[in-house]
Amino acid sequence: MSAFLEMYGYGAYVWSAYAIAIGGLLLNVWMARRQLRLAREEARRRIAMQEHS
């Protein structure tokens, strides 16, 4: 297992590259979900205001 993590001495390079790539993928999912939630809340507020006026 430790040999696998070491990657023949390239571990720091390989794992940091994978961490950045996976981090980027997760960040996009989180941001997209957040945007959708915010857009829904915004639309609800807009409709509520139209109904009141």
Binding site: Y10, G11, Y13, I20, I22, A32, A39
Partner: protein, 250 residues
Amino acid sequence: MNWVWFHRFGSPPYFYRFAGRWAPWFMGIAVVLLAVGLYGGLVVAPADYFQSDAFRIIYVHVPSAYLSLMTYTWMALAAAIGLIWRIKICHAIAAACAPAGASFTAVSLATGMIWGQPTWGTYWVWDPRLVSQLFVLFFFLGYIALRGAIEDRDRADRASAVLAIVGVINVPIVHFSVDWWRSLHQGPTLMRADGPSMPMSMAWPLLVMIGAYTFYFVAIMLMRARAEVLRRERGGAWLREELARAGAAA
């Protein structure tokens, strides 16, 4: 030819529901492919003769770089269709491409720099491939900034579409930069006239990862396009219905 299906996509309620139905499937397929590709790339594929295990960075670097250019092409194409035929949904799709594209581009540059240190002896060189890819990142960021700076949505759509179309010139420059100029960056591995210069044991995880990133991109794009559609909607009956349903589910 029957164009009804095409026009249906232009209708916000239809697109919103369609995207909501399909995004989880694309994301699910992406996760499965990602798991297979990561296992293949990190465990199954043999170490490279010259680069040892450092070459494994290819399995995240190349898919990010490939999707960066593909996302830009889709964004410019959607923006052009939106601009020429005034189809609003296309502008929403173009806007939905940009953040994912910017992140793919940034990741391709970052992983490339990390790969450059052990193999080239430097994180960065002012090389045609690297510089042209940096310009792709600037165009993505410029596109996002321009949209954010213009209050009126129609004007933001048109102005950002022009920027996206102008920047598409970068896509072939990045792709062919390694052939046109003397570059430190290696040439293409998969897309070559004489076939891949990689044994199948190394190439299959790369192809799976590219597939994973493609499905992932479509899922993110659909999710973001839904948010864009909601923001553009002035409050029709379908919107009330959808919001009530989303509220009941949450």
